[in-house]
Structures are given as C-alpha cells and as structure tokens.
Symmetry: C2
Subunit: 343 residues, 2 copies
DNA sequence: TTCTCTACTGTGAACGCTCACAGAAGCAGC
DNA sequence: GCTGCTTCTGTGAGCGTTCACAGTAGAGAA
C-alpha cells in the first residue's frame, strides 16, 4: 500500500484532508504550519507525514484573506525604461532580492513604472494592500510614487538614500563618499594630479556624495581644485561619453578621470579612445559600482565595488522587519576598491 | 456634504460597503465588477458611483479563493545568472511583458532559477497553483523545470521554440531563419564573399535556424561554403570575442561576419579592433536581435531586429488565451534588417 | 385574466484558512 | 479531594468574494 490515495481527484488537498490523514484537527495542522508552537512532537510528526503523503501545499489566498497580509512584496522601479535596458546593476539587484526573498518564501512582484499611467496603476495596486511592502529603486528626487506610498504608510525600503521623503523611510546604500575617496586616493597614488570627474546626477544623494568625496580628497592632498575638471552626467553611457568630450575640450591636460558609474565609464573609455588617448598610460579611468559592465570593457575597469549581494540582502531584511512592525532603518554598507587594467 | 464618509476607519471598504452605499446587493456589485452583464444601467451607475466614493478596490485574495484562479502569472528565467546580468534582451522582454500584462490587470511574479534549489522551489510554487500560467525564457534544451510544468498541465508560453517539449507547449519566436537570410543577403549585396558566421548555441532551435539561413543564402548565391568560416558561440559577449579570434586565425581573409547575437557581435567588434581590422571597411559585421547593446558599440551595429514589443505582447496574449482554455499555439513573427554603421 | 419569457436582483453557501476561545490532560501543592 | 498552572487540542466563526439558484417585475401572447 505504498501508493498515494489521491485516486482520480482533481482538486488539491486542503488542510482538512491533512488533518484527517494525520488524525488531528485543522487547528493543529495550522499550528504546525505556522511555527509549530504548542504542538506535541507526536502530533507534529503525524502532521508532517500527512503533508508529505498528501502533497499538501498551503493555499496562500485563503491564508491572506484572513491574515490580511499578502506575503508578497513589490519591486518598484521608477526609472525611465532606457535606464532599465542599459544598466545591468538593476539586474544584479533584482537577482539579489529575489534570492533573499526566496529564503522567506516571499514572491516578488515586478513593477516597472515607465509612464504616468503605469505610475498611477501601480500606486493604486500597492496602496490597495496587494503587497505587504515595496523595494524601491528610484534615484531621482521628487518621485511622486514614493511620496504617495510613504504617505499611505506602506512599508518601503529604498536602494540608495531617497531625497525629499523625510527620515521616515528606510534605505540601504553603499558609502558613496568613502568609495569616491578611495578611488581618488588611488588615482593620486598613481601620481596623477589633473584628475577630472564625471559626476552622477546632482539631484541625487549618491551623485552629490561621490562628488564630495572627490573634492575632499583633492583638498586634503593640496591639489588645486579646477572646476574645468568637473563635468556632470546622469549615470548613462551616453552622458559619460559626452562628459569625457567636454572634459578633454576644457582641460586637455587631464591625466585621470573618476567616473561616478561604470556605465558612464564605458562612454568615457570610448571617447578617450576616439581622441587617441591611451588608457591607462595617458589617462587613468576609475569607475563606480563594479557592475557587470566593468569587465565588458577593454581595458577592464578599475572601480569601486558596491556590495550588491549585501545591499539586496539588507533591503529584504529591513523590509521584512518593517512589515513585522519594526521602525524604519538606514543601512550604510562599505565599498571596496577593485583594481583592474584601466588605472 | 462632499466629504467621504470613511471617518476614522482603518479597514478598506468591502463589496458589502459598496452595495449598501449604492442601495443594491453584493451580487449586483459583483456583476458590475465582472463585466456588467445582466445589470441595469441605473444599477451600474449607482455601483460605479459608490465605488468611486468609497475608494473600493477588490480583494484579490477573496476572489482567488473562490474562483481558484490567482489572476497572476510567473515570468520564469532558467538561464544562468551571468546571462541575465549581461544580456539586455531579458530586460526588454521583461518590460514588454509587464506592460502587456498591466493592460489586463495581471501582476507578474519574477522567478529567477539560477540554482537547483531555486528550480525545485519554483517548480513547487508554480505547480501548487500560485500562478495561473508561466512566461518561460529558457533557451537550452532539456530544461527539467519546463518539462515538469508541462507535465503538470500548467499553461506555458515559451520565448523562442522550446526543444524537447513536444508540440503541446506554446511559443512565440521571431523568424530566425528568415532574419539570418536577410542579413547574409545584405552582406553579399555589399560585395562580401568571405562571410564568416559566429553561431548561437547549436542545442537551441534559434541557433540552428540562424546558421541554416546563412548556409542557404550562400548556397543560393553560389558562394563556396567553407567550414573554416563557421565558428560557434553561446550568445555571450565573451564567446563572440573568442569566436572572432578563431575565425581570424582560421580564415584571415574573412571580409564579413554574421554574428547570431548583438552581444556576441560586441565581442567580435572588440576582437577585430584588437587585430587591427577596421569595421566596416575591412570586415563588415552584422548582428542579430537589435538589443540595446547594438547601439552601445562603435560603430553602431547593423542587425536583425527581433520585434520585442510584439513578441512580449503575443506571449501574453497566447498565455492568457491558454489560461482561458484555448489550445496551445505557435506564433512566428517577422524580423527586419536594421542598417547602421558596422556594414 | 393567466401564462411564458426575458431582464434583472437578492440571498445563502461555499472557497480554505487562521484566530480566539473553550476544554482536556497532566502534574504539583494544599 | 479541589485548585491552579502549563501544555496541548478541537471547534465555531469569519475573512471578502463569487456562484448557483430562487425570486420579482414587466412585456407580450394566448
């Protein structure tokens, strides 16, 4: 009699079937399912055996209906779709988050807010309680979706310090300023003195902090600050390329560039190459992120590693804690200089 | 009296509240919510007004509990994570699918199966009925997850023709052979006769078809087939780079290369550049996909456009149809030659 | 008038689960 | 014996929706 007793049944087994099979009540099965407290070892064993035998899987809808939780979270990206297509950092983050969530059996709903229409639909979906919380990726300030979610009291964890959301919203970020300092110190140590910078968008804390780190280290080293060496970008490859061109035009004697993202650094490399500058001999180039893009260039990029694994793991941890009732938290993680061939 | 009557309530309004507000029964509200058949115009208006006034949003869990549907679908990627990090085609597809699904108010659950452990968890999740259907991206043959899902009768639509799943599984694909033919004809029209090819993985229909198209056109044109001109890759950038090196070593007189993916073409471009060959003067390079990667190269890639918008829209359409009870279907979409600077 | 048909509406039951509560069993202390 | 405490177990109620069914009203036909 080793065969399963399901016979020709179509419908999946319920908690009731498990209870009958194990010779206990629904309540006991439910207790085993939810942590196993106040259950005798004998009963727990019988229930687990019955679950295996029947192939029971909990019906999440029935559970959610009564608990009021959905046991799922949203991953919300409010960047323009070009950025999503271009920047592999999002993929790394997405992968990290799904992985961390899987350990808690929490599915991830992907929400890409490209248009205003999508923004509205997604906001409605989230505030209706269809997800318990949101992992937010939105670098720019004044994001109306984020503000609405915060106002609605939806548990929220941002990747990178969010702007204009007050201190009530959690975030996880790498130590941008410290990373920038490491890179510029590295360039100084190579003997470079005309160090340019292509910044990130200056309406984001990340962009501001990386620039601040650059300025600090130059000042500490007594290197003359030259505003012609500072050009701004928006993290995109194209803006890196344009930035490098401006830099070469304004300060032809530049001998190193700190670029605030690897993607922009790709563009910088292309522009330098077109201008006939050798990397790293004539101009050293340092990136930021350690994204997959950093090793797709030639030469491979020296860069500042953002600990993506830890960032995504912390985002998930903080979000689940907040869903569980804890207060918002801010987590800053250390970066690391990764030396490759571009410096 | 224009204020909402919600007062200090915390709990969201239910269908019952709407019914009371509109002066009708739950059943009538439910009918309005689900298509509005057999409802008088007056009642429908009253219900819609009440919905707006109360801010009612349907509780999907309660609905799912009784209908047995989850009204959500999974997006399952069984590629190794490096591929997901490297290839922006996945992002384009993902974006297209979320967008198409949003029009039907169907959320997308992201499932990335990197490890065996994840594969098992995801299979269990899906076969438990937590999603109504699956959008599958899995180029390689013998994928055990896909086979299990098919066997379990889960509605399934693959991107690209799946291998070894019999004819019972739906798929949407671009016309690989025809696209390859267009590209090789284009290279011939440019006067090239020593046309090499870097193939995709030959355990996938896409890889096989693109190679077949190449061979066909050369044969039709009476150009001598030379197996030294054929090297194989796996769609990755690195394999394109390695492929081009092999090609140059085996057939130094190559004057054009048809590369079966844009990402590989990036690698081919890098290898040609390193070898001192000018593109397109010395060697013309044609890609495949028209992925965002195609315009991030210099020179920008001539390529075969896969109609990603239509592919994702069709995948969603076919999947929803199949969930609705229709039979599996295969959809082949036409490609288009996009001329840029690399040919 | 009465019957039938169509268009619409209301009601109870059910979906599968968790939660609160009541009760049982075992054991100690009086 | 009774009381109190702890640990465990079963039961009824209810979460918010849809579905099947019963019922009503009005129009048209006999």
């Amino acid at each position: 009699m080793t065969m399963s007793n399901t016979g020709g049944r179509r419908k999946p087994p319920t908690i009731h079937d498990v209870a009958r099979e194990a010779g206990v009540s629904r309540g006991t099965v439910s207790r085993v399912l939810n942590g196993g407290h106040y259950v005798s070892p004998a009963a727990a064993d019988a229930v687990n055996a019955a679950i295996r035998k029947t192939g029971y899987v909990v019906n999440r809808h029935a559970r959610s209906l009564i608990t009021g939780r959905s046991d799922s979270v949203g991953f919300l990206l409010t960047e323009p779709q070009e950025r999503f297509f271009e920047d592999p950092n999002f993929n790394v983050l997405l992968r990290g988050c799904t992985q961390a969530l899987a350990a808690h059996d929490v599915p991830l709903l992907l929400m890409l807010a490209g248009t205003d229409d999508e923004r509205r639909r997604i906001t409605r979906y989230i505030t209706a309680g269809h997800v318990d919380g949101v992992l937010l990726v939105s670098s720019h300030s004044g994001d109306p979706v984020a503000e609405e979610l915060r106002a609605a009291g939806v548990p929220l964890v941002a990747c990178g310090k969010p702007i204009g959301l007050g201190s009530k919203v959690s975030y996880v970020a790498a130590d941008d300023r410290d990373g920038a300092r490491d890179m510029v110190r590295h360039l100084l140590a190579l003997g470079r003195r005309r160090i340019g910078v292509v910044t990130g968008p200056l309406d984001t804390p990340g962009g501001v902090e990386r620039l601040a780190g650059y300025r600090e280290v130059l000042a500490e080293a007594g290197v003359e600050a030259d505003e012609r060496l500072v050009v701004s970008g928006d993290y995109s490859r194209a803006s890196g390329e344009a930035g490098a061109e401006r830099l070469l035009a304004r300060a032809p004697d530049v001998d190193a560039v700190f670029v605030a993202s690897d993607l922009m650094a790709q563009g910088v490399l292309a522009a330098l190459h077109r201008a006939g500058r050798r990397v790293p001999q004539d101009v050293a180039v340092g990136g930021f992120d350690d994204s997959p893009a950093a090793v797709a260039t030639s030469p491979e990029l020296t860069t500042i590693r953002q600990p993506w694994d830890r960032i995504s793991a912390e985002m998930v941890r903080v979000l689940l804690a907040q869903i569980g009732g804890e207060d918002p938290a801010a987590v800053i993680l250390p970066t690391e200089l990764v030396k490759r061939d571009s410096t």
